[in-house]
């Protein structure tokens, strides 16, 4: 097990904090690029959209006070950064007394659960498939099957989820009931609690959303893994391992997969952003109770505060995920501490 080199650790932390800062700054700047008073404009858009806005005066007052819109811009900016750091994201305009923080707090665990479980599945399955594709002892039928199942790679998860909903939530019916539910994260009328019934309902509802991420993603990892395995097969230490008469499975695991998985970990950190992009859309397709649906309701209600806050928290979450992957990387690759990169 390697220890972190200070340089590596500092660089990763720098990237994390820079990402959070850039995200906060973008979210501060973007509404101010639009012409006119941002809050008046927001209320105007909401009025235009919904006919009338409840508590409009209260909202304007609350936001004006919060932003201190009459202060100079750098004071506004610093106050905004301070508020954001304390996760004070302001009010949701469509559900006025509720703060964005409350809404996000309810939605974020669902997204992390869905994306986390999907990631564990596609990373494991993808890398195993890729390793088996390149391994000389893999049965021939498996080597034909895996590439066929990889056809869907690169189809966007959101579009794939449309197909899955249509087939499994609509076409295939058993006793007049669809095989899988079309929408939601658990059965309607249930309240979240720690019971087996609720848990199984969550699994049942989460199956299709998770599958639409897994099925279109694992092929990408299989491809990358195969490329790495092919490179490793040509290495001298592979010849040595075989000459020593080590068991094939031992060679596959300790010599091949163990080395080939390293670039895959780096690739996983790089792809977190894309993954979050995709899962936001999948959640919207399934009306899943996560961050994606929250953003969508923000868009539908012209609730700019909600869109801002949700986006910011999701960006921070993905930066945090990248940081965690980067920090566990030295544990599986002891060389990193020696090279001091």
């Amino acid at each position: 097990m390697g220890s972190f080199s200070l340089n590596y650790l500092l660089r990763r932390l720098l990237v994390f904090f820079l990402t959070v800062w850039v995200a906060a700054t973008l979210i501060f700047i973007i509404p101010r690029l639009a012409p006119g008073d941002p809050i008046q404009a927001m209320i105007a858009r909401m009025t235009q959209f919904e006919g009338y806005v409840e508590n409009a005066d209260l909202i304007i007052e609350a936001w004006r006070k919060r932003f201190g819109l009459d202060d100079p811009i750098h004071v506004q900016y610093l106050r905004f950064l301070g508020n954001t750091l304390r996760l004070d994201l302001g009010y949701s305009m469509a559900n006025f007394p509720a703060t964005v923080y409350e809404l996000v707090g309810r939605a974020l665990p669902w997204t992390i659960g869905l994306v986390g479980i999907a990631t564990i599945i596609f990373f494991t399955v993808g890398n195993l498939c890729g390793a088996l594709l390149a391994w000389y002892r893999t049965p021939r039928w498996l080597k034909v099957m895996i590439p066929i199942s990889m056809t869907f790679t690169s189809v966007p998860p959101a579009l794939f989820s449309l197909l899955l909903v249509y087939i499994f939530g609509f076409l295939i019916k058993i006793n007049e009931r669809p095989l899988f539910p079309q929408v939601g994260a658990y059965a309607r009328g249930m309240t979240p609690e720690f019971t087996l019934e609720f848990f199984s309902s969550v699994l049942y509802h989460g199956f299709l959303p998770a599958m639409s991420i897994v099925l279109v993603t694992f092929g990408f990892w299989a491809l990358g893994m195969r490329g790495m395995m092919v490179t490793i097969e040509g290495e001298d230490y592979m010849i040595l391992a075989q000459a020593k008469g080590l068991k094939p499975f031992y060679v596959l695991y300790r010599y091949m997969i163990r080395n080939a998985i390293l670039p895959q970990m780096t690739a996983l950190a790089v792809s977190i952003g894309t993954l979050i992009n995709g899962s936001v859309l999948v959640e919207i397709m399934f009306v899943y109770n996560g961050m994606g649906s929250l953003i969508y309701s923000g868009i539908a209600n012209q609730d700019f505060g909600l869109i801002q806050g949700t986006s910011f928290i999701l960006i921070v979450t993905s930066a945090l995920a990248v940081l965690i992957i980067d920090l566990t990387y030295p544990l599986i690759d002891p060389r990193i501490s020696l090279e001091g990169r």
Partner: protein
């Protein structure tokens, strides 16, 4: 050695000619050819469609509503009619015309965003790989941060402020994030090429840095750049379709993503109007699969080790 520099494009040409005499021409791999063939076919069909089909039918109210494709019936037991072979949707747009108009728009957004992203990526990647020092540090940091941010979220925030924008503006917004992956990729390639013999040779002979970058290294990177471009294009189309699925996008003449958004809004799934959301989805899937095949093919061209594996 100055003449060596001048000869590089010619050298590339001789290399190609030499390969043509052998059976293992890397460009003749089935992945590349199939992918390119599919994209070619799509554009050919679009061309035919523009010649022989009335694209005005893609406008709302141009046709009867909710007609099924020929050979199918809808929930009102109407049969498909040959005037609208792929059916129509609920504001009277003809599906075939929608595809003819929408497909090139969708691919076009990807091409514009990917081109801008690639251009910036080439410049920054070469700068970082060649100049090194603090320039490299800054570019690497910027790249890492940009890759970490899920671009769709920032684009959503922007679009929420500017809801109605045209496709070109959308493409340019997307390209704000499309430069990071090429930059990282090109930088890594340049770093490894920088130490290779022919570059050292050119440097010793006093070839200016810019010439080394663009006349010595660039031609050798072409397959990598092409693969990177295609990957970038896939990503850009993905972002565009994502934004369109959220309802941001051109309204009068829709692209494929906008069409799917409307079908979801109108509960086409529950009304079993599969042609409305299904056909654009399948076309998009085919485009993505074709781009992936081209990408894989180019990868094999650029990387002989992968070729060996087949």
């Amino acid at each position: 050695m100055a003449e060596n520099t001048a000869d590089t494009p010619v050298a590339g040409g001789t290399k190609k000619a030499g390969l043509l005499n052998r059976f293992d021409n890397p460009w003749m791999n089935w992945k590349f050819l199939t992918g390119a063939g599919i994209i070619g076919l799509i554009f050919f069909l679009i061309f035919l469609g523009n010649q022989f089909w009335d694209t005005e039918l893609a406008l709302a109210g141009a046709s009867p509503l909710n007609m099924p494709p020929v050979g199918f019936t809808n929930w009102r037991n109407q049969e498909g009619i040959p005037e609208h072979p792929l059916g129509t949707e609920n504001s009277g747009r003809d599906m075939l015309a929608l595809l003819i108009v929408g497909t090139p728009r969708t691919i076009g957004v990807g091409a514009i965003a990917a081109s801008v992203g690639m251009g910036v990526g080439i410049i920054l990647g070469f700068l970082a790989g060649f100049v090194g020092g603090w320039v490299d540090d800054v570019i690497r940091l910027a790249t890492d941060v940009t890759i970490t941010i899920p671009s769709l979220l920032v684009l959503i925030v922007i679009q929420a402020v500017l809801p109605r924008i045209d496709l070109v503006t959308m493409a340019l917004l997307i390209s704000m994030f499309a430069w990071a992956t090429p930059t990282r990729y090109i930088r890594a390639q340049v770093l490894s090429m920088r130490e290779s013999g022919y570059v050292q040779m050119a440097r010793l002979s006093g070839v200016p840095t810019r010439d080394i970058m663009y006349r010595e290294i660039m031609p050798n990177l072409l397959p990598y750049l092409a693969a990177s471009y295609i990957g970038n294009m896939t990503g850009a189309i993905l972002s565009a379709v994502g934004l369109e699925l959220l309802g941001f996008g051109p309204q009068r003449i829709p692209s494929l993503g906008v069409t799917i958004f409307w079908s979801i809004e109108a509960a086409a799934l529950l009304r079993n109007m599969w042609w409305w959301w299904g056909i654009p989805t399948v076309i998009l899937a085919v485009v993505f699969i074709a781009l992936l095949l081209i990408n894989l093919g180019l990868d094999e061209i650029a990387n002989p080790r992968l070729r060996k594996a087949n």
